[in-house]
């Protein structure tokens, strides 16, 4: 029933899978679709110049890593990590999409901030970031 609701409302195909492959235990879970946000929620309201979302991320060593951001909207976002800037663009306000950028981390705790670069017709929303170390 839940899957059906996702298909109907989430405007995208929903799947069920077992995570046996991952942990060897039997539990049926859902695959995230591009109509859903992950976890308990998401963030929005990046429209003001001061609008910012900061993640605290620890790294075992200094390195350049691939940062994935899942967001939606038609907006450019600036990523600031340890004084280094990168820009990514989102071009779909109807679905969540992942974009990537390299970021430099130092050993220990890093702060990664995301800001919307300018006013957009469809403002930015952010679901999560992933760090591929």
């Amino acid at each position: 029933m839940k899957g059906l609701m996702v298909i109907l409302v989430g405007c995208s195909a929903a799947f069920f899978c077992s995570c046996k492959k991952s942990c060897g235990m039997s539990y049926v879970t859902e695959i995230l679709t591009d109509g859903q946000f992950s976890g308990a929620g998401y963030t929005q309201g990046f429209g003001s110049p001061e609008g910012e979302l900061t993640f605290a991320v620890s790294s075992r060593s200094a390195s350049t890593v691939k940062l994935t951001i899942r967001g939606r909207g038609r907006a450019e976002a600036q990523i600031v990590a340890n004084g280094h800037h990168a820009t990514v663009a989102f071009d779909d306000s109807d679905r969540w999409q992942e974009v990537t950028a390299p970021v430099q981390l130092h050993a220990g705790e890093n702060l990664i901030a995301i800001k919307q670069m300018n006013a957009a017709a469809s403002p930015l929303m952010v679901d999560y970031i992933e760090i591929n170390q």
């Binding site: 839940k2 991952s22 859903q36």
Partner: protein, 464 residues
Amino acid sequence: MHLKSFLLVVSLSLASVSLLARDSKYTRHGTGPKYWIAYEWCFENNLPIPEDRWKRNIDWMADTFRDYGYDMICNDGWIEAAQSINENGYITKYNSNWRHGFEYWNKYIEDKGMKVGVYYNPLWITSAAYYSKCKVSGTNGITAADIAGRWRFNDLLFWVDVNKEGAEQWIKGYVRYFKSLGVSYLRIDFLENYERNYGTDAYEKALKWIAEEAGDDLFLSLVMPNCYHHGRTELKYGDMIRVDDDCFKGGWDFASSRRRGQHKSSWPQYGNAFDGMVAFSDVAAKGQMILDGDFMRLNTMATREERQFLYSLMVMGGSALAIADQYDTIGDAVEIYQNREMIELNNLGFVGRPLSQDLSSANSSRWVGQLPDGDYVVGLFNREEDTITSGIDFFKELGIKEGAVENVRDLWQHQDLGEMCGKYTTSLAPHSCKILRIRPKGIIRYQAEFASPKGGVTINMANE
């Protein structure tokens, strides 16, 4: 529990507010200090704490808790008898009947390897300063009496009127004075009284001056603030705000049941610690505001579970961890304050959020946050009088890929529960909690809803 469909959630979501906040090393860290406060004896006896008891508590804290990171000692109110002043009219002792003043005791505390906090409001003028017509430092002959306002705080303390010439010099001079004494934490009380009598503009002006002078050298703890407009004024100038009524006699009344679910528009907006922490959780984050759930008197809690509950609430909300128990009252509550796995969360600047800010929702008793290493910390609380079933869904609520978890660790049992998939479910006895540290499998994902928003960025939670 709702599905995570975006379209569904638009109508169900809770929009929290993030405003611009004071940028200090304290707010950037995210969590409050760990310290001892002299409240309990003063409250129980309605008197200033005696000097010999003050010393015994300092010695006990150094021996028992300093190595766990509780590194500060702070006096508390009952301050009217502080009428010993210096040439600028600033108080030199916690109490005029004490043998020693701040200089002596601050050195004593520092020699014990701890920092000094002071309870005082720089907007106060003692009767001693007022009637002796002390000159306000940095002015051309303006006296303390000249800057006193129309409304007194009480018989022994006047309020400064910030609209009078010389007020800025007095207030900033007081902050500078405390800094010169080596004080690292200023606990500024009765703010609602000032705002009520002198108005919000005057209140804001005073906080602005205090913050300007404090800089990064002094932690500003705002006590009894009205927090109008969800703390809009306090956010700009304070490091920490009180979010609930005083501890008073402590117990479950303070932790969860006093005026439960009831809201007032001015101080104290919430009657108990749990409600206050939930209601202001949206302004608590690194770079925003630190919440102050008030002091803990764990000796007043009825059971070990209740003691764990209150301490866990403070840790999950990023609150200051303020011990008000004393060397001769604490009983067997010492071990609660010494849980190094919980203390680590405070050290890391961890600030969690409830899955709902609706106080009538069971989801307001489930808290989640994320650590810099990607681990999730989940707090499951039972405020009720019956046993409940509670839990967390790794995929739907934490966003963990395929719901696959490398390890779940119980931070009160100090036990690894091992690999899990899907969800964790447990039975919670009345007034008990579970605090779990959850390590996801695979690539580390950091959820936006547990990150730190500011400047208008809002968090939308699905579980309303």
